[in-house]
Symmetry: D2
Subunit: 348 residues, 4 copies
């Protein structure tokens, strides 16, 4: 019963097989491998974006900070949710790659609202050269609390950004889970909504370690390449990144894997929802659940070896009825049996 993160489960066997298959003979290094040519075509097809620039890196943080910093000047501030990965979980990597730029936190929740975004942007640049200038808007989809922006919400946020002539970045570490949840196309969730550059995640959804950066206007492609190399994120044996992404995009593996994870999550959520003592902090929409239930249930889970984060509260404590919050993440590899066992333990 591992619900700690979608980065702790195994990779999909097809991904590992692809790495093995790619391990034949010589291949041009640094992204000039022929598999990458296919990946580029796959992604352009998938996103209905024949001009898009497509690059691969190995970590989600690298995808985010290289993508963002290409659209971000060091005297600017970027706008994001206060729980955005780029703010809370990247140890100042965005600020570092942007040369000392700033992040402005928008609103209080996991989702930015158009009004809060408009107000935050409007407030900056009222101070001539003294305050930072307005920079890119970064949206996380799925959010760090498991919520999914609807297409209407995405369009509205991008419209605010565009009204100030600001670029939009989408942190899509869980892009596929969001897409499956919305039932829309990749184009609808990106450039048709107004997104300029997306971090299209593979790692959390069954890959070993690969993320694509897709820039719909290729104008800054060369700058991205230089920033990637300068960030030490250009792989010499690039074919093994290409092979992962190629397998991921072949036969809709990416979509199946996300659908599987979301279905697992829905099963888990339904089970928890049926328990009187359990309540959600956020409505689960993709593959992540934040749920509160009594300490006694946590202790039963703990004793049975379940692994997940206690998001607030302490397992040790006197009151068995006190509610502690759990963060539960499902990946493709979780079995229905594990889920049902987990639910049964919460129910007690």
């Amino acid at each position: 019963m591992y619900f700690a993160s979608d980065n702790a489960g195994p990779a999909h066997p097809a991904i590992v097989d692809a790495i093995a298959r790619a391990n034949q003979g010589y291949a041009m290094p640094y992204g000039a491998d022929t598999i990458m040519d296919e990946v580029r075509a796959q992604i352009r097809d998938l996103f209905e974006a024949p001009e898009a620039a497509v690059y691969l890196v190995a970590t989600g943080t690298a995808a985010n900070v290289l993508a963002l910093s290409t659209y971000w000047q060091p005297f600017e501030t970027a706008f994001c949710s206060p729980v955005a990965h780029i703010h809370e979980d990247e140890c100042n990597a965005p600020e570092f790659f942007a040369g000392g730029a700033k992040l402005t936190l928008v609103g209080e929740g996991d989702k930015m609202t158009p009004d809060a975004l408009r107000a935050a942007i409007a407030k900056e640049e009222t101070r001539d050269v003294h305050g930072p200038k307005r920079g890119p808007v970064s949206i996380t989809q799925v959010t760090e609390r498991g919520s999914v922006y609807s297409l209407e919400e995405l369009n509205a946020l991008c419209a605010v950004a565009k009204s100030f002539d600001l670029p939009v970045h989408l942190d899509g570490a869980r892009f596929s889970n969001a897409l499956v949840a919305l039932g829309c196309t990749p184009a609808e969730m990106t450039w048709k909504a107004g997104v300029d550059v997306v971090s299209f995640g593979g790692t959390k959804n069954g890959c070993v370690g690969v993320e694509a950066v897709v820039m719909f206007d290729p104008q800054k492609a060369r700058e991205f390449e230089l920033r990637r190399k300068r960030g030490a994120h250009l792989f010499s044996k690039h074919r093994y990144l290409s092979a992962q992404m190629h397998a991921y995009l072949t036969g809709d593996l990416w979509r199946e894997s996300a659908a599987h994870a979301n279905a697992n999550c829905a099963r888990l959520a339904a089970g928890l929802d049926s328990i009187a003592d359990a309540s959600f902090m956020y409505q689960p929409q993709a593959n992540m659940i934040f749920c509160s239930f009594p300490r006694a249930a946590h202790q039963r889970l703990h004793d049975a070896g379940a692994v997940y984060y206690i998001w607030s509260g302490e397992l040790d404590g006197d009151d068995p009825q006190e509610h502690l919050q759990a963060r539960l993440v499902c990946d493709w590899s979780i079995s229905e049996a594990e889920i049902d066992q987990f639910i049964a333990l919460v129910r007690g």
Copy 2:
């Protein structure tokens, strides 16, 4: 006949197998996987350094710049050869990760000499706060021209650094090839000589993409961890880095692979040496050859599909006798047949 680089050949099958074997069940992310515990022990044993701090990253540039910047202040200059990878081939990554520090180029050749190093270090810091302060010394072993520093040379360079109380970094992207060439122990080539931190390469010697950073004094270990995360070089699914390094160090694969590459290179060098019209620019000592021979020979090779870098000169040209320089790199996977075919084509 691929002699372009040791990053263009396939990974050793044992490495890919290890990735597949690691792909079972859950593993703690971010370096807390159990395979990493074994890797740490393997490397400490190998280097006879029970206290060493050991970290993995996926690219050689990442290993270099994260290792160096941990020992480098932004107002300092680091000392290296004018052909060092950190100077010529990392697109300002060292300067970036060091917060805007400088590199001072020592001497004219691929190898730094103790005298040139002493003079270069002595010259800095004669200008009070106006000039940069003295920073770390970075030595590349194997050098970018295929030479190998002897233990005496390494000891002498480190002694110069120590006489100024400066830390020493060893760029060991081809560490194993050097070690095989010298027939010494890892400890002799590092901390016993005076090296403080080493980039211990795996990628060029048969791995998919993994490099270890070994810090013999663990005092700066935590800072390194923070710099790695901030550089976006911490892998969530770290087990796949661990698995590669584990397989690489198991059963002396790393040493065999390097021995194979060096032997291939020696065979190629011997063949070229027997050709009157071919001459070496540097004496080949590990797995890399810089050799000059007539354009006509290059054209024969080209027509036969041989792949390698023409280091100076142009393949197109009128004079078939004009000498062009070739850079030839052997990896573990080159066959003797290919080498012999290459030699035959040069001979004509």
Copy 3:
């Protein structure tokens, strides 16, 4: 009637005279001038800190960012008020000089409270290497809203910082105004409270352009010197900075000038307080007032040529009774007649 800022009035004549007097013969450059020796002694006496390291720069932002960055690692976050000058008015200079570090905003108001500071510090570093590490605490005295932390408040904030072993920086751009308001000694407002490094302002209080950075523990003095040079803030003709600071500290000019400014402000505040239609947003404690009164009064002031910032609202508008907020800053040079004229115009 100029109440726009204390950086728009003239310098005190004694400061300009000192520059002229210093303009005799040769002087060692870069801070080795003999006047600087006297300044160092003056400041050590003033702060009762015989070991303190003392440096001069020409702008308040330079003093802040050089002081802070000497105590701040790039993977850390510093703590400050959401209206701190370092956050709102330095165009990312702190983030730049700290190599891409972050600022965490504490609370909602101009003053940080110990509880809010403790909570903000406690929240960071719960994420291992993923979140930024805890960095220095920066306190602004006088705050950007004209409030003054009491000694009790300063001590409490510093105690929180010390409980987490964090250094404390005091942005004292209006240090003298605060000191006069509190009636305490410089030592009480700094190191006795727990402040490690202070930006001791001269510019806003009658100098041409000079700020001292005082580090009570000289351990990082050399690093500061290197950061100052690298920031391009080391003056070759340093004697003209020294001369200003020397005159400022001679005969208590600094205290008189601040006392004058504070008295002007008190007179203005008393006048405004007597007007039914005027109300303070913050209780004026030093030389700055945030006050709300009707548009009609603003228009009278405007027509009479008064210069100040309308902090919120627009001068143009239909409703003469609508309240607009004014920011009013008094420097030493304002006359009582101007103040009284201003009050009369508000009263109408």
Copy 4:
């Protein structure tokens, strides 16, 4: 007898008077003062550049690094002489302000030659993304060894830069001395030759501390403003910078002062040239001399209180006939009597 540097002498009284005269009433801060309007017009007239963007800062290093970094990407390398101030005397400030960019040293001497520059530029960018990209060319006029580039030389260097489409920066810390030496116009020495941005020095030529940055194409003016603020180099009480520059440009003070310094230097050079035992390392062309003469002469000077740098060699030593090199800099304030006394002491 002070020949240590042109930053150790007094400011011209007219400059200090201007500061005093500017010290009347209120002035808009941050460069919006009315004196700055006049300065802008003066500089545009002087340079015959009606569209030029003009900014003031207080140090030569600030002028250089802010000017250069506005034309420099962090993944680029800038080209300069190995003795350039930006390389040797700014403690990595250029690399810092450029976000971690690199400097490529051109040739061996104080002057870059067109051939060496072309070769250096050509060599970069042969490595695709691996090496740094080509960045701006920075020329120092007067050089750090007292030489002056002729207009032909300047034109030829700029032509090389332009052939690679690279911007050109002129470090004019001693711009005026060079101009007087060449007898040309400011336009001829800058934009007519191909210079894009110049650091026009005031400090070394009789000001207290002011340098202008002149950008002939104003396209990057706003970025410069933001970089200046972010570098903490925007003065609140800007009028005192404006006043200095205004006085400096009024009545040709700048030219007279430089002419005076150059004439002093010529007198000193003529005297030294008449001494058999003295020899120049560089032909003096402006206000700086590098001259070699016996230790005994140095000791006579030392005993008489002369102040200057012994550039190589040590005053203490056994052999009175051994030659030591002196660096001798003349500013406007040196008297003929001092010069003659110095010569007499060398002659012995």
